[in-house]
């Protein structure tokens, strides 16, 4: 096994002090070859499927069966993309944006005042409620899907986008509130006190102090919630039905049934579904990666 050889490069991890100079010297002497090879292997494991995804989506159906799966397409075509775009893809995308935007707005609007109360209030109601909320951290959403289905039907919301937004937001609330509370607890109490001395009421504090201070955490929470909502599968699957309320993930699954053996068409749909979030990733890699591990990266 090569595993034990993958040690830390000495002095590799410091972010402070005079480490950089020494770090570089040590590394130049002893490049961590084994760890590098290991990482390269994982790189291949990620890159090859992604290459396959894009290259196969550019093949004609007949070529897909004939050509070697990892070869460069002989006659690349955008035909599959046209088929997908004509197959209702725009609608799915639009629905996804509505669901994601709605969920993020709802979660932030609910979680920020709640986090402010949790961080600043001694009320036992607030503190008990917060403990209750934390139970939701590991509750499997599937375990509640049957009653959620019942409730949504009773509320006459079945097959609407709101039906997806409500439970998605409810299950995103615990993490969001936790992350926001943590960030507000780090705010020095003197800042709150100064505002109080100036005669600001809680609401003004929320708007003029909490909101600006919590902005990085709000970004984190938004990213995390947006990804959850964007990639959601179970709630849309169970709570919507018609073409007009279908979201992207479900649309992909649907394409699979529709296209049968038209794998290039399906892969074109998958590629298209990745593009919007990939564009966001390129624009805000830092936010995105930070947001993903929010509250867990201890």
């Amino acid at each position: 096994m090569t595993v034990p050889n993958v040690g830390m490069p000495p002095a590799a991890t410091a972010a402070v002090g005079d480490a950089p100079r020494r770090r570089r010297r040590v590394t130049r002497q002893r490049p961590n070859v084994v760890a590098g090879l290991f990482a390269a292997l994982w790189f291949l494991l990620v890159a090859v499927p992604l290459y396959y995804l894009v290259s196969s989506s550019l093949r004609r159906r007949s070529d897909y069966l004939a050509e070697s799966p990892l070869s460069i397409p002989d006659a690349p075509t955008l035909e599959n993309y046209r088929t997908v775009l004509e197959g209702g893809f725009g609608r799915y995308l639009f629905n996804n944006i509505v669901v994601t935007g709605g969920t993020v707005a709802l979660v932030v609007a609910l979680a920020l005042p709640a986090a402010y109360a949790v961080a600043r209030s001694a009320s036992p109601f607030v503190q008990r409620g917060f403990s209750m909320l934390l139970i939701g951290l590991a509750i499997p959403a599937q375990a509640t899907i049957i009653p959620v289905y019942l409730m949504i039907t009773q509320l006459r919301l079945y097959d609407t986008l709101l039906a997806i937004i409500l439970p998605t937001a409810a299950f995103a609330l615990p993490v969001a509130t936790l992350v926001l509370t943590n960030s507000l607890r780090d705010v020095p109490r003197e800042l709150y006190e100064a505002q109080a001395v100036d005669g600001a009421g809680p609401f003004r504090v929320l708007v003029s102090l909490v909101l600006p201070l919590a902005r990085p955490a709000v970004v984190t929470v938004s990213v995390f919630t947006a990804l959850t909502a964007w990639n959601g599968f179970l709630f849309p699957l169970v709570l919507t039905q018609s073409q007009s309320t279908r979201v992207l993930t479900l649309g992909l699954w649907n394409f699979q049934g529709q296209f049968g053996t038209n794998v290039p068409g399906l892969l074109a749909a998958v590629t298209l579904s990745v593009l919007p979030i990939f564009a966001v990733y390129l624009l805000g890699r830092r936010f995105l990666l930070g947001g993903l591990t929010a509250g867990f990266g201890k």
């Binding site: 019942l150 409810a170 609330l173 892969l267």
Partner: protein, 321 residues
Amino acid sequence: MASTTSALRRPGSGATDRSRRGRPGGRRPALQGHQPSAWYAVPAFGFFAAFALLPMLLVVYLSFTDWGGFGTPAVSGAGNWSRLVEDPEVRASLLRTLALTVLSWAVQTPIALLIGVWAAGPQRNRAVLSSLFFLPLLLSTAAIALLWQALLDPNFGVLRTLPELLGGGLNPLGDASLAIYAVVFVLTWQYVPFHTLLYQSAARGIPASLYEAATIDGAGRVQQFLTITLPQLRYTVITSSILMLVGSLTTFDTVLILTNGGPGTATRIAPLYMYTTGFSGFEFGYASAIAVLLLVLGAILSLVVTRATGFRDMSSQQEGA
């Protein structure tokens, strides 16, 4: 300790303590008026209660009913529960969930740990490579499952190009003995990047002086990894492991799309069994009983999460309040 922290961090609670003890500080009245009222938390708690807690109670109720999905559920007693106890498929699906959990953990933890530690290092191409590592994070579960379904297809996928010796025409998703490993493989591909990020950020926080001291003492790289890196990362290992446990318990869509529980029942894990019983078999009462089982498992894990990880200082503050 905990109460000190909370008093320091939360002037609100300090104020109440003090006034209760009859020695109000000079600035207290202003501060008390300054405290946000409980109403700020009511919308969030109410919403969570309505769409997450109420369903948890309802699912217990539904487990005592017969309900075919239409009309009102009718209470039928404990029939679902006695059926559940005798149903061999419940045990089998729980065991599959367990197998999936243990396998996923055993495969993902070392990979994520090693790559994470490597990605925290100073190698020249590290930044570029590691940003590529994380790409699977951007793909939805549906996209990943469909991609791998195509890749692993015995007729069109990459495996058909393998020479016979290596098992050309291998069909991992169609082979009952291999399917669970294929699922674990795809889950690994999907989730290792996330855990790698955890390890990377934690490894960056290890003081360099530890490694410098070890180097002076003549410790080799392996020794340094075992005596410094691993012990320093122990809490991250716990956090990551618990997240993996929770993730495995809630794994559903990957398996639904990739294998739909098949071939046969080879990958029919507990959440999938619950789903098919309800939404394909229209036995919502019985499916609810299975759901309660999952709920109990999830609640236990929740307690572990809030107690044993970084969330603990939150709960200790509450205890001190």
